[in-house]
Assembly symmetry: C2
Amino acid sequence: MESVDLIVKADYVLTMSQDLAVIEGGAIAIKGSKIVAVDTASQILQNYSSSKMINGEGKVAFPGLVNTHTHAAMVYFRGLSDDLPLKVWLEEHIWPAEAKWLSPEFVSDAVELACLEMLKAGITAYADMYFFGDAVAQSTKKIGMRAVVGSGVVDFPSATGNNADDYLANADRFIRKWKGDDLIVPSIADHSAYACSPETLKKSKALADRYDVMLQIHLSETEWEVNEMLSRHGRRPAAHLDSLGLLDEHLIAAHCVWLEPDEIELLAKSKTNVSHCIESNLKLASGIAPVVKMLQAGVRVSFGTDGAASNNDLSILSEMSTAAKVHKAVSGDPTALTAKQAMLMATRHGAEALGLGSLCGSLAAGKAADIVLAELNRPHLIPLYDMYSHMVYSMTAADIDTVLIGGRVLLEHRTLASGNEDDIVAKAVQWSKKIKEVHSHS
Amino acid sequence: MESVDLIVKADYVLTMSQDLAVIEGGAIAIKGSKIVAVDTASQILQNYSSSKMINGEGKVAFPGLVNTHTHAAMVYFRGLSDDLPLKVWLEEHIWPAEAKWLSPEFVSDAVELACLEMLKAGITAYADMYFFGDAVAQSTKKIGMRAVVGSGVVDFPSATGNNADDYLANADRFIRKWKGDDLIVPSIADHSAYACSPETLKKSKALADRYDVMLQIHLSETEWEVNEMLSRHGRRPAAHLDSLGLLDEHLIAAHCVWLEPDEIELLAKSKTNVSHCIESNLKLASGIAPVVKMLQAGVRVSFGTDGAASNNDLSILSEMSTAAKVHKAVSGDPTALTAKQAMLMATRHGAEALGLGSLCGSLAAGKAADIVLAELNRPHLIPLYDMYSHMVYSMTAADIDTVLIGGRVLLEHRTLASGNEDDIVAKAVQWSKKIKEVHSHS
């Protein structure tokens, strides 16, 4: 009988491990930050003892969901402007709001709200692209979540730099500061091939390689971007990145809406990670990414919420549901993007995309105890015939009950255990009053 | 100072009435089953007094959502089979399950679960197409919801009839029994133009006209249906119904996915009500209805969840969100199907589609007190810049707190006040165990 720190029981344990085992009446033994065993509750209780136990009756346990593309701080602009053309939305609403408000304080407060929302939606790890990376990292760490935090790089001036070299110097400093942290993984976030010159992209890649960190980028989000790249470089965006040596398994390419078959091949061969942000792409009318074709070609596709300003929530459950349904209609094939595939993309494949595949993404001995428990005894979750179907087509963020990251309970019965929810909400309301006042007069 | 039975206050009252007023710090005075006044809280409290008050602090009040197409009892088949081609799904899973299980007891118990789920999602009125109409009506009335209940008509035998004349006789009896009820509105539900002969359709229409009730039908759901109608009658489905005199404001046509421009014109001119079931259409890969074109042509479009077996939930909030996003991408226009339009379709236009336009669908003096209160103080609903955006893009069923129908409080702080939730859930679990056992051995 081995003594452990915590045993988590659940009516069902969805492991998402290689054999995709679903254990009825399962349990997970946890020591420190790691899982030591996943098995039936009776086996676990025979082999392990613990003074701390989470009962999980009427609940399903699964690996924390992974959000592979967002701009967490933009949660403060949720619903600030909707139903507008992308150009008007960006140039007349979002960019002026960012120019007016962005500061380390703004980002720090906003990221706390974003983390709270994501945690309550069962997300345990996310990839962020924004500015003031230290503020993003500190707030995320304060809540206790995992994040791959990108230090933003563009060619034009903003509050954090005057030119690409400034941003790259920021990124260099940011990476050295956070490398080796137990929760925060530093990375470089090149905005896009249209906002970063070939030289900037190559310098970023060299920096990422030097420190062995991930590179994040927006890729082929809109048709405009494709045409712009064709006219500037005579190549479509994916081919352009390929020519600069950026496509590899250390790149997270968000969106990838406008792809030709040969570009899909490029992404597959290079093992580039694609973050599919369907709700944002739909809402901004950017288009519908060829996910079914990417999956068929062997591209590693995961889900991203994008920023809350263009979604308008930070729920991967919702992305799964939308994607699994929309790609059936678009491909004309009701067997496309099954519930099981969607769950894999939201967990194991998402963790792999962030370079965290050996750390999290499934429930197995040796992995971090990043575990979510969701309520099953709700009218909209009854009857229960198939757990994957439930997770993808019926469950919503409000069903998430408990969230552990690295063995630490961060959310307990839908309440934040690692911070003060009321404070986070109060700060958000204060900021939003200021933003609203200025915005409604502009 | 006039004495009323109940005053409902809310931080925001979304009236959805002709002027689309949004009242900050609003209140609604209710006498019996009706609204007597909607105004600012200070005005209402100056003019009305009541011993009963719902405080609504931190909440938004809006008219009950309307679900214009479902098969409520199919909630017991939620997730029984997914990710399958329509033919396999129907012929190998759903129809055998129905043949095995359908009975008044099954329908009665299942409809209670469906009503519970819909109520918790802020739905106050729905249109149902199924068999055993008395069981549907009784369970709905027991919970206290409004429904337009269709008595099913097909040409083939089933548990409730041998031929069309049997079903029509059932419908005749059903209409006479329920006509004049305060919550249940009887109607006739012809399955489709492919499951009902021209003669059956004409007889149904004559019966509907005789009693002045609504006719419901599935229309142009799949490409197969269009080809079938072309080969049988030389006309596409909408033109076929038009030739039989079925298209008018008393028809609720569900789906309408495969429409040519001249069919859209037919639906607009005839004032036929279209129930848009986007999530079901996506999930079964039936296609995407040309809703933007229908709206431009003046067709009255509302939202339906379809049955939970093909959705897999009964939430109009979710349909709104999916529709408002998908139609932007499909039309390539981010201004298409705005949040405000979606809310109108889900409330006032939905009520009008069910022939209940003078009774409900907006919050105004003289209308039934069908009122929903939703929680605003949740991380995913902060900040708040625009209430329509919130309702459509961020709110989920779990945010619904209180539901009144005809002045009666049916849901109070997310708990059913008009029945025993645990009993409803327990019955569902029992049925599902039996269904699962047989299904997994078939």
